[in-house]
Each structure stands twice: as structure tokens, then as C-alpha cells.
């Protein structure tokens, strides 16, 4: 089954990436946040790969990161400090929050990545001046990429980059359509492997597999009771152990669940919005895409535009409840959570809050999720 390839890539990201460099001789840049314009990197034939944590305990980041910064930024920096990414040709970040920026700056300062670029992605994306500002910053990025590659690019190259990323986004959205089914032929765990494996691989190699998966899903039937339909909303999350626990509860307990949609920067916030193709000014089109995409809450003000997207997902994917989660100390999400909970509950979607760390406390979390599922549907037979 092609779908298994996503998990294989997720679990073997370093093997794939080292092999890619060997096979192609190409340059590879690690990125820290989804506000990095991958279109421009593909235009240069440079491979952008996202750096996520490994969900393993570590003891190398304490001298570099303030204790009350989030576990995700530490886990990311730990990957660099432990030498797991020594094969990269450089690193980059698009400004989102200061926690992840600290991971980037520490990496840049201590690991000599060769090439690095800090992209000052505007925080006030609701300002009309954000698009021209960002386009100007992209022009500087292009100059910097010229020094990395020794190449110059044309609008046609940018259009090629846009097409690659749009194909990824369209394919992911088509796969997500299957999750709307009563018994989805793809689990939340598999969907998470699908989106994250694209971060780690060359989109041009990921796409044929994803298209094959689309075909497979047309006839695929999963021999499991989907249980309650859950949405996950919140901070960065690729916590497979947690998703796996939720989706296997039904095997041993009276209640079970399937994650049918998420609103995370590892999933829909990353891929849902496309870049306009074939315009007079492709660089401006890319800038417009990153300014208008579903924002990280660090940028979603003064209006909270994410809420509309979240409510639409809840309706379109017919969710029974939502787990609102936050990486411990993730301030942007922490500030948003009361509004997210309020909006969902007003729309009739019950919510439950969980605070995430590098590893999942599976036992304590399973009790909470199970009890939440019990509140979604009380068994009337249990009461006189």
C-alpha cells in the first residue's frame, strides 16, 4: 500500500534526506516554521525540509533556551545540537514566535550551518502594507539564495515553484475529503504521517505517492469502528503517540474516536491555502499567499480570522467534539484558546483542553480523552 510510505518517510527522515543529497547533489535547507516560502526554494531547485522535534527526552538545550519557552522549540534545537542535521546546507525561519526564533538563532550561532536566513515575516498580516513589505523581503531572500546556488531565477522558475507547492496542497485537500466519510478510509494518524512526510521529502517525489494514495482511498475500507469524530486544534503538533492512543481507545474501552480534521501548522494551517498561479507578478502572488493564509495566532490580530476556518472545518467534517491543545508555554495559542473554545462551544461543539509536552503522558491523557468521549454520548443504559 502506497499509504504506508508516508510513515516510512516520517520515521526515516534523515536516511531519506541524506540519500536525496547523495542522489541529486542538490542543496537542502532546513526550515523552522511554515512561514518560509517554499515556492522560492523550489524555484532555485533547493530542497526545503521542515525541522520538527523527535519527541525524545534530551538534555542539551538548557544553556540555550529559557526554561519557560515551549517544548517544541527545545526539541527542534536539540535535533541540531545532537548533530542529527549536520548534512544540511543551511537553515531558515519565517518570523512567527520568539520561542522558535530562539531555537533558530541558537542553532545559527552554535552550529555554523553555512548559510542561514532570517525572514522577517510581518506580524501584522491584516495590514495592507504587509504584501509589499513581504515581497521586498522575498527579493532579499532571492539575492541570498543566488549566493547559495550561484544561480539566478526567472518568473518562470517562480511559477514552477508555485505549481509544485499548489499540487501538494491540492492533493492533501483531496485526501482530506476522504476524512469526511462516515467511516474514513484514512485515520488521523495516517493523515499526520501524510502531511509531515511532505515536510521531510522532495515534493516532486512525494506527489506521485500521494496521488497513488488518492486512488487507493477510493476503495479502501478500514476494519475499525470510527467512534466519535474529533477535531484537534492548537499549537504545532505531530504527536503521533497521542493520536495513536486516541484512535486505539475503542479497542479496549467502551468509547473510541477518530481524528477527522486538525487545525495545526503541521496540517491545515500549512497547506489549505494556495498561491495564485500565472499572474503578472509571481513574487507578489507568493507574498499575498503567505500574508492571507490561515494565520498562526501570533499574527491573527486584531481580528481573530482563524475562528471562521475552525468553525467551517467543524461543520464540514461533522465533528462531535474538539480537543484544543497547546504546547506548554506556547503564548500565542494560550491567548487564543479561550476564544477558540468559546466559538466552538457556541456552535455546539464540545471541547476539551490538553497541555502537550515533548513526550505524551499516555496514561493520564487517555483517562481525560476517554472521559471527554463519555460526555459526548452518555450511554442511557447506565442510568436508572
Amino acid at each position: 500500500m502506497a499509504i504506508e510510505q508516508f510513515q516510512h518517510w516520517y520515521e526515516n527522515r534523515h536516511i531519506y534526506q541524506k540519500d536525496w543529497k547523495k542522489r541529486t547533489g542538490g542543496k537542502m535547507i532546513g526550515f523552522f516554521c511554515t512561514y518560509v516560502p517554499e515556492e522560492i526554494y523550489y524555484a532555485f531547485d533547493v530542497l526545503p525540509v521542515r525541522i520538527l522535534g523527535s519527541h525524545e527526552l534530551q538534555d542539551v538545550t538548557e544553556p540555550h533556551i529559557f526554561a519557560m519557552f515551549c517544548p517544541f522549540c527545545r526539541d527542534v534545537l536539540a535535533q541540531g545540537l545532537k548533530g542529527k542535521y549536520n548534512y544540511l546546507d543551511g537553515i531558515t525561519i519565517g518570523q512567527s514566535c520568539i520561542h522558535l526564533r530562539q531555537a533558530y538563532t541558537s542553532w545559527d550561532q552554535h552550529l555554523n550551518p553555512g548559510w542561514s536566513h532570517y525572514l522577517p515575516m510581518p506580524s501584522h498580516v491584516q495590514s495592507p502594507s504587509s504584501v509589499p513589505f513581504l515581497k521586498g523581503e522575498f527579493e532579499l531572500l532571492i539575492k541570498k539564495l543566488e549566493t547559495l546556488t550561484g544561480k539566478t531565477i526567472t518568473d518562470a522558475d517562480l511559477e514552477k515553484g508555485i505549481e509544485i507547492m499548489n499540487q501538494v496542497r491540492q492533493t492533501m485537500k483531496k485526501i482530506y475529503e476522504f476524512r469526511k466519510q462516515e467511516n474514513p478510509p484514512i485515520t488521523g494518524e495516517e493523515a499526520m504521517y501524510m502531511t509531515c512526510s511532505q515536510f521531510f521529502t522532495d515534493a516532486r517525489e512525494w506527489l506521485p505517492v500521494a496521488k497513488q494514495v488518492l486512488k487507493e482511498l477510493e476503495t479502501r475500507k478500514l476494519d475499525r469502528d470510527p467512534g466519535k469524530r474529533l477535531m484537534l486544534v492548537g499549537s504545532e503538533n505531530d504527536d503521533i503517540a497521542f493520536i495513536n492512543m486516541v484512535e486505539h481507545l475503542g479497542e479496549t474501552e467502551a468509547v473510541g474516536a477518530t481524528i477527522v480534521i486538525e487545525e495545526h501548522c503541521t496540517t491545515t494551517r500549512y497547506f489549505w491555502d494556495e498561491t495564485q498561479e500565472k499572474t503578472d507578478d509571481p513574487l507578489k502572488a507568493i507574498a499575498a499567499r503567505y500574508v492571507a493564509r490561515t494565520p498562526c495566532p501570533s499574527k491573527d490580530w486584531p481580528k481573530r480570522t482563524r475562528l471562521d476556518r475552525i468553525l467551517k472545518f467543524a461543520k464540514d467534517f461533522n465533528v462531535d467534539g474538539a480537543i484544543v491543545l497547546q504546547q506548554k508555554f506556547c503564548d500565542p495559542h494560550e491567548a487564543d484558546i479561550p476564544f477558540v473554545k468559546q466559538a466552538l462551544e457556541k456552535a455546539g461543539v464540545p471541547t476539551y483542553f490538553l497541555e502537550f509536552d515533548v513526550t505524551t503522558p499516555v496514561g493520564p491523557f487517555s483517562i481525560r480523552v476517554e472521559a471527554f468521549l463519555e460526555t459526548l454520548e452518555t450511554e442511557d443504559d447506565l442510568f436508572d
Binding site: 479496549t252 474501552e253 467502551a254 493520564p364 483517562i367 476517554e370 463519555e374 443504559d381 442510568f383 436508572d384
Partner: protein
């Protein structure tokens, strides 16, 4: 440390009981609820939804054995064996390891249902202070959960924290609450976010000349504050009941009461039994509806 009877100070008294007023042989359904918590295990046996017997013991390192021991402890007092039980529900942290359970339910559901039984149907907010977690639960007149919150990854303010403390100051856990109230002046509360820091602070207070009672007062007040944070978050409604071992600690409860600004409900039952009682009642309802054990 141990007391004069060689009993470790942190070790609370285990107990069992059988109802002399019920002839279980005449009951239609005998159901059991077994709540294997992180610190204590309870088995409640009910006859047609009425308390028939219970056993309340410390949880050992082995969940299946803890469940079996608690049930045998209850049945021993009744003079019966496991074969009388028509249906059994496992709950608590070790719920999946209750060997005789027909099914499991979370302790959240069971505590709400159990509080409804031991305190009455007026209960709307249940606070369960267990061995390693605190739960604040909202429920309806039937004991159905509508919302709940639990503390995160920290044992401060829980039963286990109190056990550690009783050992540190050398006072039996059964006396901690009363002795903490025997003070005229209290030091500031100790750390409410970490048992280990609280211990360090307490050692400092003892060295500074505060009496054992005063240090106990500082810890009980810190625990009350910690517990209050959680119930304040969920929103307190009239009909406030406390379950779990901490409900028996007057030192914490009497400091919590003015914060909650509500009268605590009273019960004749051991508050540690709520989870197991709720489980046994769910079993009784299932049997009555023909959803009991498949023969």
C-alpha cells in the same frame, strides 16, 4: 517513620464493612464496582443498587491483585465469595487490569454517579481529591457528567503529597488535619505547585522555630489553595460535594470552605468509596435493562 503500633505514619487506615440490614440472597442483582486508584483501591458490592459491602485498601504494585484484594476484603466481611456477583465494572487508573470486570468506565463518570449516591441528587459540583490527581466534575441530577477538569502532571495538592508530608513532620496522616487546626498563628502557605519544594520549605519553617502544627497548617492551606484553583476554573455550583481521601482531612477542607463560599454537603459514607459505588450502580442499571453479563 512509624507510630507506636509500628504503623507507617503515611499509611491511612484500611477498612471493610457489610450491611447487616440486607439479605443479599433475596437481591435480584448483585453488582460490584472496583476502583483501582494510584494510591488506594476500593471495592463496593451492591444489592439492587444499595450498599451491601465494601473494602478499602492501599493499592499495591500489581493492579490485578489490588482489585482482587479489595473485593475479597469486602466479600470477607459479607461472608460470601465472588460467585454471587452478577456484574462487575472496573474503574480508576488501573481499570483495564481488573480481572473480574465485565467492562470499564472512567473514574470521572463513576465519581459523579457515586457522589450522586453518597451525597444525594442535589450534587452538581464534585471535587475528587485522589492519590495523584484532583478532578473537578460538573454533573446533573442523575450524576451524569457535563464537564470536568483535572490537574496536570503534578502531585501537589493530592493525597500522595499529603502522605509525603505526614512522613516528613512525623505525624500520622489520620491526625494531620486536626492538628493543623490547633494553631493560633499560621506561617505563610508553603509552595502549592510542587510537593518536593513544599517539603524543603517545611524543613526551613521547622528550623526557624515554627511548631509542627503550624507547619501542618501552612501545608494544609497551600493544598486548599491548589485545590481551589481547579474548582474555580470549572465554576462552582451549589450542591458541592467532595470525594476521595482528602475529604476526610479537616485541615484542608475547613480552609477550603471559606474560599468556595458554599456549605459542603455531608454524607454518612466513606468518601473514598464514591468511584467504586458509582461503578456498582452503573452495573446495576445495566443489569436492570437486560444489558448485564452475557451468559
Amino acid at each position: 517513620m512509624t507510630d507506636k503500633n509500628n504503623q507507617e505514619l503515611w499509611r491511612w487506615t484500611e477498612s471493610n464493612w457489610a450491611n447487616p440490614d440486607i439479605n443479599f440472597k433475596k437481591a435480584k442483582y448483585i453488582t460490584a464496582g472496583i476502583d483501582v486508584g494510584s494510591v488506594s483501591s476500593q471495592a463496593v458490592v451492591m444489592a439492587d443498587g444499595e450498599m451491601l459491602a465494601y473494602g478499602n485498601m492501599r493499592t499495591g504494585s500489581d493492579s490485578p491483585n489490588s482489585a482482587r484484594n479489595a473485593l475479597n476484603f469486602a466479600l470477607k466481611e459479607l461472608g460470601a465469595d465472588e460467585s454471587i456477583i452478577n456484574y462487575c465494572i472496573g474503574t480508576g487508573y488501573g481499570r483495564v487490569n481488573v480481572p473480574m470486570a465485565d467492562r470499564t468506565l472512567t473514574e470521572i463518570a463513576c465519581h459523579a454517579r457515586g457522589a450522586n449516591y453518597i451525597y444525594g441528587s442535589e450534587v452538581r459540583t464534585v471535587l475528587d481529591v485522589g492519590g495523584q490527581d484532583i478532578k473537578a466534575i460538573k454533573c446533573d441530577e442523575k450524576g451524569k457528567v457535563s464537564n470536568f477538569l483535572m490537574n496536570d502532571k503534578c502531585a501537589a495538592g493530592t493525597g500522595r503529597g499529603m502522605e509525603v508530608f505526614s512522613d516528613l513532620v512525623g505525624v500520622s496522616i489520620n491526625e494531620v488535619g486536626d492538628r493543623s487546626l490547633d494553631v493560633e498563628k499560621e506561617p505563610e502557605p508553603v509552595s502549592s505547585t510542587c510537593v518536593v519544594y513544599a517539603k524543603t520549605e517545611a524543613t526551613g519553617l521547622l528550623r526557624a522555630g515554627w511548631s509542627t502544627e503550624q507547619v501542618l497548617a501552612a501545608y494544609c492551606r497551600a493544598m486548599a489553595g491548589r485545590i481551589f484553583e481547579l474548582i474555580e476554573k470549572i465554576g462552582i455550583e451549589k450542591g458541592f460535594a467532595v470525594t476521595g481521601g482528602m475529604a476526610k482531612n479537616r485541615g484542608v477542607m475547613e480552609r477550603l470552605m471559606p474560599m468556595v463560599k458554599l456549605d459542603f454537603m455531608k454524607t454518612k459514607w466513606d468518601t473514598q468509596l464514591a468511584g467504586a459505588a458509582g461503578a456498582a450502580l452503573f452495573g446495576n442499571a445495566l443489569c436492570k435493562k437486560g444489558k448485564g453479563r452475557k451468559k
